[in-house]
Symmetry: C2
Subunit: 101 residues, 2 copies
Amino acid sequence: MIYNVMEQIMIDLFDEYRDRLGMKCTCSRCQSDVLALALNKTPPRYISQQDKAAYVKAEFVDKQEMTTLLVKLAECSKIVSDQPYCRKSGVAENSVPYLYR
Amino acid sequence: MIYNVMEQIMIDLFDEYRDRLGMKCTCSRCQSDVLALALNKTPPRYISQQDKAAYVKAEFVDKQEMTTLLVKLAECSKIVSDQPYCRKSGVAENSVPYLYR
């Protein structure tokens, strides 16, 4: 089995700062869109043994590295807030958003 | 929930060509190491709705795109074959391989 450790790092950071990112909508679809977009802007760190995730996480204890990820989350929150694709937004459900380009 | 569509694309490609990649060891650890390394060299394509994976997969029907991924798999098969970290290789189990740099 393989795991991209950046997924969990980004999810944890998002959970911590979600309320301060100025998202217009915080439904599960919009939250997932922010996470997916931010991860698409972040080099992946796949590993083959889940119990070794700490080796990668240790690199992100560094404040500068975390700030870089947080900036990505803020940028992606703005993109999704400016053009949301959730049901509340009224966009046709079968429309193809930026993630699938 | 979020998914990196490249994971399934790479796994499918690996399943198809595994026997022709010249891997010295094909244990599950070595196979996972090849996949993890190859995905670390590939820009992720996260999506927020699994049923939309086809939009991303459609881009990789293109032969040139698939060839690029196959070249990455071949390079990573060589890296893992040259320096395997599985039990058979005799490397100490707690050694830290290239994936956790």
